[in-house]
Symmetry: C2
Subunit: 254 residues, 2 copies
């Protein structure tokens, strides 16, 4: 049974090509960002704190593994994740880390405003309460991620502006904030800040990638909300759009 051992080794080498991307923390960070929205090299370098040439080098590695694709716009190059399998893979990596590495939970906990301390709202609960008009859904990620895709009816209010724009939120409604995923800290920080101001605020259990992968509807664009009280907008679109949740089961390598 050794006639194809070379080929078989080739196969594992191909898998390792992908593994190579996630062996470097910064590349994981980049991939995480790209699962939220496309970005230029410059923007990526800036938000990850890398020198431009270094960021570019990392992106080349990711491109050779075919995990990202590019689009040119004038003189700028925009990178994006190459397909939902990539996001699913990153998701599996996150899950695995949370399940197996106690350190991850410790880090989250050590941040005070962490995932463990903040009560989480499930997708189902969110849907129910939104339909009952009881909550405002808040997307606290940077604006460009919001416009690349968000929960229908959610308001965009990036964490960095939350404090300044607090008065845009109806004090009588509970806020459910969400961000990039279970390991992302934006929503927990937002919720902590809001509760510090006497508001009722919780976090969604998942981030947008999980929402999308669950087959729930995703809306694109900057949204129609100009910055008013945002009470009605916050629950309009989700009302009847619940999809049959085609849920591509986890092991489903078709």
């Amino acid at each position: 049974m050794e006639h194809d051992s070379g080929r078989r080794a080739d196969l594992y080498e191909q898998l390792a090509r992908i593994g190579k991307v996630v062996v470097h923390p910064k590349r994981i960070e980049l991939l995480d960002l790209l699962c939220q929205a496309e970005r230029s090299v410059e923007a990526l370098a800036e938000t990850t704190g890398l020198k431009l040439t270094t960021a570019s080098a990392h992106l080349q590695v990711m491109r050779q593994a075919r995990l990202v694709e590019t689009r040119r716009e004038g003189t700028r190059v925009f990178y994006r994740a190459a397909g939902e399998e990539v996001c699913r893979f990153v998701g599996a990596l996150n899950d695995l880390a949370r399940a197996r590495l106690a350190e991850v939970d410790q880090i989250l906990r050590s941040l005070g405003t962490d995932a463990a301390g903040t009560e989480r709202v499930s997708r189902d609960e969110l849907l129910a309460r939104v339909q009952a008009g009881e909550v405002v859904v808040l997307d606290v990620r940077p604006a460009e991620e919001y416009s690349a895709g968000h929960i229908p009816g959610a308001r965009s209010l990036p964490l960095e502006h939350l404090e300044a724009r607090l008065d845009e939120l109806d004090p009588d409604l509970e806020v459910v904030a969400y961000c990039r995923g279970p390991l992302c800290l934006l929503a927990p920080e937002a919720a902590a800040l809001l509760r510090g101001r006497g508001r009722r605020a919780r976090c969604l259990e998942d981030g947008l990638p999980e929402w999308r992968q669950a087959g729930l509807p995703v809306e694109e664009g900057v949204g129609t909300d100009g910055g008013s009280s945002g009470r009605n907008e916050a629950r309009s679109s989700l009302r009847d759009r619940r999809t049959p949740r085609s849920s591509p089961a986890v092991g489903g390598r078709s």
Copy 2:
């Protein structure tokens, strides 16, 4: 918003700890094997063609990432995958490779008796046909993987013994062979061999890990089959055991 950048970097470093495991082809191969069944260091070194000390070194890396655990039995140490999240992660890696790397399909195709050439049977179809008593389910993985877990009612007939023990199979029944997963070549080779002998034979779409992750029942032990015609045994146990398929949806990082 820079007060926790250090912590955030720590988080990605933790993820990279896991990534480190899948950056080396041999480690992926080891992990793949360990998702099927536990094995001693010696056995792992032998089936992967590594020197003993090298295999041990790789296993240490995997252990430090908490992806594998050990059990001592006398003087031997048995390694196993540390939880189903690990197998799910490996599955996501495989999926991603198949989806994004054309090379993977090419390699599979170049093997002649490949995945692409062999018609695949879905899980649902298998269940239906087994219940109708139309097929024999054949586990062509090595015997120790069979006894670590197999599809209920499946016969164990490792590929390496298939030719010699061909007469154990009822020529009138179609055979559905399965192995480790979509990238594994055991079942396709078995099906090709069988068809070369005039039998009707196909492959299951997935391997045992996918079956297990779908929440379908898995049977352990060496099986009661002594080596007779295996016509009835081949469909007894699956008859009424279909579980409600708790299907932990893909994005479900609870």
